[in-house]
């Protein structure tokens, strides 16, 4: 079992990066998903979108590069690639809803057997708002959830989400530090497991039913 949180995040980000394909337009959510960019080789020519109005976002700005007019959707100063472009929020979300974004990577509070996702509200406790998440999950061609397998020791991959949904049946893939799970019409299929864990261990921290195929692979991280 991977218990170190920093290492867990690194495993997740590395594995998610392997899902991206040459030339794709990709939106990485705030937090853990942002780390994915560090593991994508430049020759992949991935264009990263920031929904506040950039396609072709570059790395985080160094102190010398910082420009308060150029931020990402998390409010951090970033850079832009030579081929990048800036636009307004209507264009940005037209790209998202209009099916022009190939992949979105987001975190989750809960995800379930039907590919439902909850990540924007804990009623009465934490109400950050959905920001761009609902549009991203609805509009992106592929939705990848990148998250630590459990939260405060509790399962996050559930039979049915209890929290209000962000979108219904839109998640395609779940990547955690323990495994890779594909969402299919039949349910959740365990595709890969980390070399330091076992299927039984994964089952013990997953509430949802997992379909176990014969050809489970070891996560390439």
């Amino acid at each position: 079992m991977v218990t170190d949180s920093k290492l867990a995040k690194e495993i997740i980000a590395k594995r998610v990066a392997k899902e991206l394909k040459y030339g794709q337009l990709v939106n990485l959510g705030i937090g853990l998903p942002t780390l994915v960019a560090s593991y994508v080789p430049t020759e992949m020519q991935i264009a990263f979108q920031s929904e506040n109005g950039i396609v072709g976002m570059g790395p985080k700005a160094t102190p010398e590069q910082e420009d308060s007019d150029l931020i990402n959707a998390g409010g951090q100063c970033v850079t832009v690639m030579p081929e990048g472009s800036f636009f307004d929020s209507s264009m940005s979300f037209a790209l998202i809803r209009g099916g022009h974004v190939d992949v979105t990577v987001l975190g989750a509070l809960e995800v379930d057997e039907e590919g439902n996702l909850a990540n924007w509200i804990i009623p009465g406790k934490m109400v950050p708002g959905m920001g761009g998440a609902m549009d991203l999950v609805m509009g992106a061609k592929v939705v990848i959830i990148a998250m630590q397998h459990t939260g405060k020791g509790k399962a996050k991959i559930l039979k049915k989400c209890k929290l209000p949904l962000t979108a219904k049946s839109k998640v395609n893939l779940i990547v955690t530090e323990l495994c890779v799970i594909e969402v299919t019409a039949k349910g959740l299929v365990l595709k890969e497991i980390h070399k330091d864990t076992t299927i039984d261990e994964i089952k013990s921290v997953t509430e949802a039913h997992l379909i176990i195929p014969d050809d489970i692979k070891i996560m390439d991280v």
Partner: protein, 217 residues
């Protein structure tokens, strides 16, 4: 036509209970000089329409902290804990709208459209109280236009007529907010003569702008 005014001259425009739309994204492209004036003016019971409520000590957040806001319509309030706190105590009402829906509702108002049909929010609690319309066997939610009494816009380079260019990610909600209110006030980071802004670089036509103020440094 002289649209350039001093910040003091704007005070008479604002009244208690107004609906004000404010451009910006996490205080990037937010007209902070006008917001500071509103904090001084201390008008109350405002409805604020914006992407977010900034930070407690920065941008739109100052209006929230100062207790001037009755209702917020935004996509995200997570960066300003004071908005969340006031929502939970019932001091303030918060309507959350997905970011892509929020900008289209604003665009609809400024573009003469009766609303927008979006798949965003289907199968979630956002369906509550909304009409679901099926087009070619696909469901959409009908989202209604959002308009304001006054819009506050921040331009990076603005000419004397109000033509504006937005640098980098300061564009965000600004161009559409500039279309959705009866009175539009442009805060200029840099104020130039008309011939100094290339016509091709204009992102908001000055004809939409009623007043221009220079950002306080």
């Amino acid at each position: 036509m002289n649209k350039i005014v001093k910040i003091e001259d704007l005070k008479s425009i604002f009244k208690d209970g107004m609906t004000i739309m404010i451009g910006g994204f996490l205080d990037c492209g937010t007209p902070d000089t006008i917001i500071d004036m509103l904090v001084d003016l201390n008008i109350k019971d405002l409805t604020i329409i914006a992407n977010d409520t900034g930070f407690p000590d920065k941008g739109i957040g100052k209006l929230v902290v100062n207790g001037q806001v009755k209702k917020v319509i935004a996509s995200h309030i997570g960066t300003n804990p004071e908005t969340g706190r006031r929502m939970h105590t019932g001091e303030m009402e918060v309507e959350l709208s997905p970011q892509g829906t929020l900008i289209e509702r604003i665009r609809a108002a400024g573009s003469g459209l009766g609303g927008v049909l979006t798949p965003t929010g289907l199968g979630t609690i956002l369906e509550n109280g909304k009409r679901k319309i099926s087009i070619n066997n696909k469901d959409y939610l009908l989202e209604l236009p959002l308009r304001a009494d006054v819009s506050l816009v921040k331009g990076s380079i603005v000419d004397e007529f109000g033509n504006a260019c937005y640098k980098a990610t300061t564009k965000n909600f600004n161009p559409y907010i500039a279309m959705a209110a009866k009175i539009v006030i442009m805060e200029a980071e840099e104020l130039v003569k008309c011939e100094q802004l290339r016509t091709e670089d204009i992102m908001t036509p000055g004809v939409l702008v009623n007043y221009i103020i220079k950002e306080a440094v």
